[in-house]
Symmetry: C2
Subunit: 211 residues, 2 copies
């Protein structure tokens, strides 16, 4: 076991704990969250949690750091491939899978923590740096593709990246929390159609999996 990046629990205990935080957030919500409720979701005692984390908010910050690392890994989808392949793979990863309990749990919990961000500076800082990382990653892919001539030369990379961020963020409510699966299917189809119609240069095809 190696110490966690946050200086808290070792990484495998940390993985166990942050998943327990996610389940407890899904059941009780942030404000009703207690270390007791997190312990009830983990194979770690409440005393064991306090050994690694000083407070409920430290647990939530550890969860957010883990969720954001996991999403950073998803932002690396198809890294090293051409810009067209990368763009579709990253949008796919950002949309997440509403059938996957962990994807749904993370998205709904992050939405709740976003609602608390105006009053919790640590949440706001972590969430804002994540949102910028999404924008910067998508903008860099778009710039690579403009340079390579596969995306439209007049594309505004920053604005288009912000638009992709907000559209994919928006699925957390209707699709993930309310379970409106038909809306989820339609948004996925429309987002890829948007890339085909507005982002790809004339004559450039989407990757085979998205045709």
């Amino acid at each position: 076991m190696t110490p966690g990046a946050d200086g808290g629990a070792p990484t495998d205990t940390r993985e166990e704990i942050v998943r327990a935080v996610m389940r407890a957030l899904a059941k009780h919500g942030y404000a009703a969250l207690t270390t007791k409720k997190v312990a009830a979701e983990a194979s770690v005692s409440e005393a064991g949690l306090y050994y690694h984390y000083d407070s409920k908010d430290d647990l939530v910050v550890a969860f957010l750091e883990w969720a954001l690392e996991r999403d950073s890994a998803r932002l690396s989808a198809a890294v090293g491939e051409d810009p067209v392949t990368r763009l579709y793979a990253v949008c796919d990863a950002l949309l997440g899978d509403p059938e996957d309990d962990v994807d749904r749990g993370i998205n709904v919990a992050m939405m709740e923590l976003l609602a608390h961000a105006p009053h919790e500076e640590r949440f706001a800082d972590l969430l804002e740096s994540y949102e910028w990382r999404v924008v910067d990653t998508v903008a860099a892919i778009l710039e690579d593709g403009i340079e390579a001539g596969v995306f439209r030369s007049d594309l505004d990379a920053g604005a288009t990246a912000a638009y992709v961020l907000v559209t994919t963020d928006g699925t957390a409510g209707a699709v993930m929390a309310l379970g409106m699966t038909e809306v989820g299917r339609q948004v996925r189809e429309r987002l890829f159609a948007y890339l085909d119609e507005v982002v790809l240069a004339p004559g450039v095809s989407p990757p085979p999996a998205y045709r």
Copy 2:
């Protein structure tokens, strides 16, 4: 004073109370909300609140009903005008104004209640009926415009309406809760560009205010 539509407080007392719920939600979050904290934001005593509402959740439901009525009114923006004018006006209303405290308060509070919807059936029912009302309203405008020849004939009205819903919902996090105003400006610009590029039939111009 006339009785409220929900059978609770008369409408002007109700307006006062639901605004207090909104401010209390913004300060404390849903799970930490108490009738005492709502009373602290209102010129009504805690006993006065109990006279009209039986529980904290009744207060939250009254807030949601008010917020959804307010948004329904916004969905009527430019009603009676041509489909092009209505579509741009409704999208504008759905994006809301991040500089307006009430718009921001409602959007962030609704995002928090969405996160609780999987565990609170009354919230889920109200929020889902609101989301469908947005989709149905936008889809009806799109169908009118396809019929009138001002929108592309091959447009999928339902999917495009779902896409508009999710994109505008998505501004609640980055733009409203985190205050990323540049992202808000870019999403607004990109959404209207999307309408110009993908929705309007060739040769049809956006309304003057959106050119």
